[in-house]
């Protein structure tokens, strides 16, 4: 039950590792191909701009190893925040490609669609609903809420890939799951017991 947090030069990795430590799950932060190729579980973090993350991931030289481990060996991977966004094909925020492991794109919050109009970024705690059965939500506490900070969100092409729905001005997809590929737009590592439960479930997959 060891988790490998992919270090491609982006994000607040210490917080993720801290939470795994709190729930007694062994985790390592690594930028080595050999670690990725042996990983039992992968966390793909990401914060900031989509293109910065996409570029850093490409430059990290880890893409072939990630593709091998996720697409061929089918090891579970969880993208967090922009790490989730990278799982899709592209983003309105930038021009660089995503991994394309899940069909769809990342779109900006549409203020015109909101009633009433809310501030963007969406920052704070929001209640979420799992829209399909998922081991990630096994035994989840009642009224799960998570901490979000984002201006863009996923828009999946295949409805069955949507895992989590949240509402900010209007309902949006806040989490995805397709086989061994999973992602959440919120920050489980900053979301108390709700995040602990989700990360624990992921580690136990």
């Amino acid at each position: 039950m060891k988790v490998t947090i992919v270090d491609y030069g982006v994000g607040n990795l210490a917080s993720i590792k801290n939470m795994f430590k709190k729930i007694n799950v062994e985790s390592i932060i690594s930028s080595k191909k050999s670690d990725i190729l042996q990983a039992e579980k992968l966390i793909l973090p990401g914060v900031g701009a989509f293109d910065t993350c996409s570029q850093k991931l490409a430059e990290s030289d880890l893409l072939p190893s990630l593709n091998q481990r996720v697409l061929i060996d089918k090891v579970p991977v969880l993208g967090i925040c922009v790490g989730l966004q990278l799982l899709l094909e592209r983003s309105e925020e930038g021009v660089l490609p995503g991994l394309g492991w899940i069909k769809g794109s990342i779109v900006k919050f549409n203020a015109a669609k909101m009633t009433p109009e809310l501030k963007i970024p969406h920052m704070g705690w929001t209640d979420v609903t799992a829209v399909k059965g998922s081991k990630l939500f096994d035994g989840m506490y009642e009224s799960p809420r998570f901490y979000f900070v984002h201006s863009y969100h996923p828009s999946v092409m295949n409805e069955e890939d949507a895992l989590v729905q949240a509402t900010y001005g209007y309902p949006f997809t806040a989490g995805v799951e397709r086989g061994n590929i999973m992602g959440v737009q919120f920050h489980p590592e900053k979301s108390h017991k709700f995040g602990m439960k989700l990360l624990e479930n992921f580690a136990r997959l």
Binding site: N12, K22, M123, G124, T126, K190
Partner: protein, 255 residues
């Protein structure tokens, strides 16, 4: 249901947790790490920790202490105090701090706000604005822990900080601090109307109803210190935080 963030703000002085009244009369209230652990158990939305002696002592953030705090914080944690360099911002974020809070240094160097926002993103750069009344009773921006009047108009300053790249404003009314007399809602209203970024109301809260009032006056989130560390008329130290049911009934359902 719309939620808004309710944020305990903790002040650190000489490694201890303290609480002030109008930025003076600091009372020792306990150990910071212990307080963070308790607030964790209470599932607070977010926490802000300000080392109020760092800038006055011209000392950088105490990274070792901050790492101890972040390793116990399973909610977003903001840190302020003594930050003067971009490298310190980077180091804080790497250590697990979600938001850096700039006060005196934002006034001295708005460029630091800009550089910080470019590097970590606006959402992680908070500018804290302490507002007091000058001799003529006009609102002015104060720095150096409320001891120095910059003579700047709060509205103009707030706009300038938004332009520099601040992702959020932490607005504290000095004469409300520690008084349990409610927020300065007029000030909150004025400032939140002049910027698009979230304004966090600080100073004076005594109840969840005060939170609701601040939100209805335009604040995007609310913060409090004394209300969460003191109990009763004799200011006995007891850490508390409203439960979800109370927040739902008195705050979330009314905004």
């Amino acid at each position: 249901m719309k939620r808004v963030r309710v944020i305990p703000v903790l002040l650190i002085q000489n490694n201890g947790l303290v609480k002030s009244i109008k930025f003076k009369n600091h009372t020792y209230v306990g150990d910071p790490i212990n307080a963070v652990k308790i607030f964790n158990e209470k599932e607070v939305d977010e926490i802000v920790i300000l080392d109020i002696s760092a800038t006055l002592e011209k000392r950088p953030p105490d990274m070792a202490k901050i790492k101890e705090l972040t390793s116990e914080a399973f909610m977003p944690l903001g840190y302020g105090g003594g930050i003067t360099k971009l490298d310190e911002i980077k180091e804080l974020i790497t250590a697990g701090v979600e938001k850096v809070v700039l006060n005196t240094s934002a006034f001295v160097s708005p460029q630091l706000v800009k550089d910080g926002a470019n590097y970590v993103g606006s959402q992680s750069v908070v500018v804290s604005i302490d507002i007091g009344k000058d001799f003529w009773g006009r609102y002015k921006v104060y720095v150096e822990n409320g001891s120095k009047n910059t003579n700047l108009d709060p509205v103009e300053y707030a706009r300038q900080m938004e332009k520099a790249g601040a992702g959020e404003l932490f607005v504290n009314a000095i004469d409300k601090d520690g008084t349990f007399s409610g927020y300065n809602t007029k000030l909150i209203e004025q400032l939140s109307q002049c910027v698009k970024i979230p304004v966090v109301a600080v100073g004076g809260a005594s109840s969840v109803d005060d939170f609701t009032s601040a939100i209805l006056h335009g604040a995007s989130a609310v913060s409090a210190g004394s209300m969460f560390v003191f109990q009763g008329p004799h200011r006995a130290v007891l850490i508390s935080y409203p439960g979800q049911a109370e927040l739902r009934e008195k705050l979330f359902s009314k905004i």
